[in-house]
């Protein structure tokens, strides 16, 4: 599973970092980025919740 963030849509709300800190982090300017794009199956549920929680739908996942 591969995770990406659309920087144009990201608002830097920090929600994804709260929900899946293993996968997401935030830079000094407040923009989220993906730490490790290849996500293990164990983290899939957390990433799914982050995708659904993102207020602007900035996170996408490909199988």
């Amino acid at each position: 599973m591969k995770v990406t963030i659309d920087p144009e849509k990201c608002l830097g709300t920090f929600r994804c970092v709260n929900l899946a800190p293993e996968v997401f982090d935030v830079d000094d300017d407040g923009n989220s980025f993906v730490v490790d794009a290849d996500v293990s199956d164990e983290l899939a549920a957390k990433v799914d919740l982050a995708v659904r929680s993102c207020p602007t739908g900035a996170i996408s996942v490909e199988d």
């Binding site: 608002l11 709300t13 935030v26 300017d29 407040g30 929680s53 207020p55 602007t56 739908g57």
Partner: protein, 403 residues
Amino acid sequence: MAIIDFDYAAFPGNRDPYPIYAQMRDTGRVLRSSDGAVMVTRYDDVRNTHADFSGFSMAAMGGDMMGQISRADDAVLEELSTDEAVGLANTLLTIDPPSHDTIRRVVNRAFTPRSIIDREERVREIARELLAPLAKGEPFDIVTQFAGPLPTIVIAEMLGVPPEDMYRFVQWSKVTGTDAMSMSAETTRQFRTELREYFAAQVADRKKNPTDDLIGRMAAANDEQVMSDIEVVASCELFLSAGNDTTMRLLSNMIVALGRHPEQRERLVDDAGLIPNGVEEALRYDPPVQFLFRASKEEAVVGDTEIAPGELVLTMLACANRDADVFDDAETFDVGRPDIMHVSFGHGIHYCIGSPLARQESRVGIEELLDVAPTWKVLTSDDDIEYDPTGLLRGPKSFMVQV
């Protein structure tokens, strides 16, 4: 559109608005309030309404028209006092894309999650100092002695207000919240003018002498002058008006809920790791902001209902948070509830920019409270809790507890 007996502007039922929200969800997805607003009641519709920022506008409520004066016409602006100009200036709350995106980018660069994370130990210190009278065994007002001062002091320090200015700054801060309702018009005007002139002087100073506080970072983030100085001042004021009262009510409502549900409090005492989830549940169960406002434009649609242009549309957040299609046992306060995706910070591009700070202050506040007083007794009975006579913001005016 069915009409429901609910007066959003002066809702007197704030002691417990949840029965009428249940009635709203049962009555229809889109309703009209008795005072004429359109209300969106269900969870998915509320999220979709917020996501559709071109159909449901912030600017169309009047903000943009005023903002155009402050940006486009310097001659008009120069005639105004600082106080008047700030009152007319654009903020994130009064504009739509594309200008919203431009300003949000500037504010984001200043008000970063990192700058919030780095101050966590200081937030904890402030919480601990405020809780000292409770720790000593005195009767303690959660609202006025803890939940109110905590966010006010935290944001003042973040902004870079020095200790010698702190007292008067905290006094001025009151005009940005519901405390203003009990002030004389003259005091309100005086405090607001002093606050705005103080911010304006600080912003001007930071442009010459950069600092790493929030005012300094706002001035630096606006180095390309995409905002006017007056708009920077208005944004600084928005940190207070959008953050202080709301966080106070979030913490207060959570503590009231924990007081009523001692078994839930015990779960948080036994496992402090559950506190962040408990904060999310408190946000869902009894949010500080009960609904938000939009103005409909030509293409506004909720589900299969077309909404005429120019309607005032209320997204009923607290009502949507108890939508049984989304939340099991939605009326139950359960700090262990999984996947809590409430809409209490909104949704879409206007999602609360202060949410990382509100979440941190609430988590740290509850951690410290439960450390000082794992079991407190409630001195204010349910019948004696007073709420402000407004439907918009919900929280007790006072809530007495004792170890």
